[in-house]
């Protein structure tokens, strides 16, 4: 009976692989401004706007909650928790979307290289898949238990996303934002304003 179940899984797995291969959306044309800008934007947003430790630490800082709890009424505390939860959920969703964007660009580019490294490709595919799963899990945890319910997962998500960025950066060096954060921020604002 166990063997029969095993073979059934193999057959089902093949059918799922067929389904996935047929439903795959094509990536944006390689080398187009759309793809390049999308990836550059994703990398910059992740590295500078979403993942700096001080920012993430601030989102999940208990001091804020303790201060609000000590200085305000129950209603204000509830409002604070709701707002913080919304903020954290939006942050998680943004991280997930930027990771998907980066992943799409990376694999859209890398498929044209002859000397692909199996190890790098597998590492990046695994990191992206793991990160997206962690994002989903964290989203669920925050949704169910609030913003202060899953502090350990946050550390994991930040470190994994950091690894994805550094692997992508090695392959897409030309997309990486400048080292000087202030300059990049100013120039981004300048671009937007201009």
């Amino acid at each position: 009976m166990t063997a029969l179940i095993l073979y059934s899984f193999i057959a089902a797995g093949l059918l799922i692989a067929i389904f996935l291969a047929l439903r795959a959306r094509p990536v944006r044309p390689e080398g187009s401004a759309d793809a390049l800008l999308g990836a550059r934007y994703a990398l910059r947003t992740l590295q500078l706007n979403l993942l700096p430790p001080e920012l993430v630490g601030r989102f999940f800082a208990r001091e804020d909650l303790e201060y609000v709890a000590s200085a305000t009424t129950q209603e204000v505390q509830q409002q604070f928790l709701q707002d913080r939860k919304r903020l954290v959920l939006a942050w998680i969703e943004q991280v997930r979307l930027q990771v998907i964007s980066l992943q799409e660009f990376y694999f859209g580019q890398s498929r044209h290289f002859v000397q692909l490294s199996l190890r790098t490709e597998l590492a990046l595919a695994w990191e992206c898949a793991a990160l997206r799963m962690v994002c989903r899990a964290l989203y669920l945890l925050v949704f169910l238990r609030g913003p202060y319910g899953a502090p350990d997962v946050v550390g994991k998500i930040v470190s994994t996303a950091g690894r994805v960025c550094s692997i992508s950066e090695q392959s897409l060096a030309f997309l990486a934002p400048a080292q000087d954060r202030g300059v990049v921020r100013n120039s981004a604002r300048g671009d937007a304003a201009g």
Binding site: M1, A3, L4, Y7, S8, I10, A11, A12, G13, L14, L15, A17, I18, L20, A21, L22, R23, A24, R25, P26, V27, P29, E30, G31, S32, A33, D34, L37, G38, Y41, A90, E104, F107, G108, S110, R111, H112, F113, V114, Q115, L116, L118, E121, A125, R189, A192
Partner: protein, 253 residues
Amino acid sequence: MLGLFVWWAGIFLEAAILLRAIRCRIFAKYTYFYTYVSCILLVDLTRFFIFKYEAPAFRNWYWSTEFLSVAIGYGVILEILRQALAHYQGPARFGSRILWASFFAVLAYVAFKSATVTNWSAPATGAELERDLRTVQAFVLAGILILISHYRIEIGKNLKGMIVGYGAFIACSVLNLAVQAYADPPVRQFSRGVQSYSFFIPLFVWVITLWSFHPAPAVERNERLESDYETLARRTRGMLRDVRGIISGKPRK
């Protein structure tokens, strides 16, 4: 009577696929695939005439040709690999590695079986061998399909037909052969009936999807400057709206 009708219907569909290929001049474009269909047609015709005129020799002939059809089935997988990854040499190298690894695995497995099986019986050992070889094919095809979906490779209608037809046939065969080995007798009987009709799945799919030539979508690597400019402008406007949304505290959904 129904069995003979099914037999002839299968031969008719195989011949129709080949005739359309010759008429639309796509035989040369999918050589491995049409070689496979030609071999299958030949196998079916010889089986039919041996069954009709040399019934005692049918069983041996059936099992010999069954292994032949499993072996040349790799032609379809090779065609899928060749067509889907033709413009993507890196992923194609991964696909070739999967194919070679499976080839050596099959050789090792067949050598092991020949050395260990002492009481060979065509229906039992043959079915077991076929099931395991089809399972290897399932893994190889799944590996190639994972590459296709992972790298978001666009495939044409002809190739989609090959994938759906042959993939569904392999999945059906693996399941049927496993049921015949491990399930209860009534289920086995039902499974045998299903197996004799399962080859109609790929034949119908191939008749429809390979009726005419549909080339794989072109790989767009160099876009025209005008369209790039439009994209650039569109994306920049989008980013500006995002920044405005962040400043005003209403991020765009």
